[in-house]
């Protein structure tokens, strides 16, 4: 009973994470400029990966493995935020204009 509940929770978390990745990818392909594309990409990396990690962590059955996955997620959070900041700063200084609705 408990194990099937855990399985259902896992599936829900991973599917929700996959949805964020899908939405992020669609945004990356469809959004008009570098800033909006970064916005969609960071949502996929942060929330999507976080949900997948939660879904897998409750399946792993060991605290150590779960902590390792959470640590990996934290590193992705930090490096994703830094990379997004650097790309957008460089783009702004390089004279790439922010997209406005006509």
């Amino acid at each position: 009973m408990i194990s099937s509940l855990v399985n259902i929770a896992s599936i829900l978390f991973v599917v929700a994470g996959a949805f964020f990745f899908l939405a992020g990818t669609v945004g990356l392909l469809r959004f008009p400029d570098v800033y909006t594309r970064l916005h969609s990409l960071t949502k996929a990396d942060n929330t999507g990966l976080g949900l997948v990690v939660v879904g897998l962590a409750i399946q792993s059955g060991s605290v150590l493995a779960a902590l390792k996955m959470i640590l990996a997620w934290l590193f992705v959070l930090v490096s994703g935020a830094t990379a997004a900041h650097l790309i957008s700063t460089t783009a702004l200084k390089g004279g790439i204009r922010v997209w406005r609705k006509e």
Binding site: F75, V78, T82, H85, L86, T89, T90, G94, G95
Partner: protein, 324 residues
Amino acid sequence: MSFAGLALDGLLALSLPILAWRTLAARDLYRAAILFITFGVILALAWARLGAPDIALAEAAIGAGITGALLLNTVGGLSRRNGGDDDERPDEPTDRVGRPWTTRLAVAIPVTILAVGLGWAVLSLPAPTVDMPSLVGEAIAEGEVSHPITAVLLDYRSYDTFLEIGVLLLAALCVWSLGLSAVRGEAPEAVAKSPVLAGFVRLLAPAMVVSGVYLLWAGTSQPGGAFQAGAVLGALGVVMVLTGLLAPSLGRGSIIRAGLALGFSVFLLVGVAAMLATGGFLEYPAGFEYGLILAIEFFLTFSIALTLTALFTTVPPREKKEGA
């Protein structure tokens, strides 16, 4: 094997040749570099699916990570070179070499022959007369390094690792002899002075040192080893060079030269010493394998990390303006 596993493997096997083709066909060098990184990541996934986590780690760290960064660094250098001093945004560097059908044919025919030959060779392999896997397994049980890949690499294929570190040393020497200019001051002002980047490097450095040393240590009993550890530490060096933290102190002094050659020299020294003791090059005397292998791996890691970092201290020189 489950259907999902089969579908994933099929997807990986299908994407690899397509990615390879797109990488080679791309005219835009920036696009080619990104495709190359994607190719490396998919290849690492394929190795992981084949049950070879060591090779997957090495491919992800060196093949996709470090090589990708090296390619992007070069593309960036070329792009600045084409840019000139005017306000115009620099053009993306493109591959301007012509590709007539004669060239395509001259490449395609030998590659096709090689592919067919390799396929034929694999399919017509005779059944092995000696059961190598179980022999190796027995030998590893006797040896002290318990992880099969590290043990095989060092007990049986010391030559391979020896030649690989030699190739890495040669690569660094070749890059140095090209007369490229120093990377200093090349990073955009906004990036080089960003407090976010400085904080990020400060946060990342201790974690990368710990995981690099852990990979080296873990290499004796689980996936990891000198090349993977060297790649992680080298990546830290690359980040520090590109953010301007390391570049001023990393010149071409005799200490750096000695550090680059250290791994190769120690390997050679141990190999020759082993030859004097046991009569065979790199045949370690019984009882000393574990200590010798770990010592070699330690120095290898140091030299690999330093070499990978040193490769990033140069950029292509600015193009000479000829009537432009």
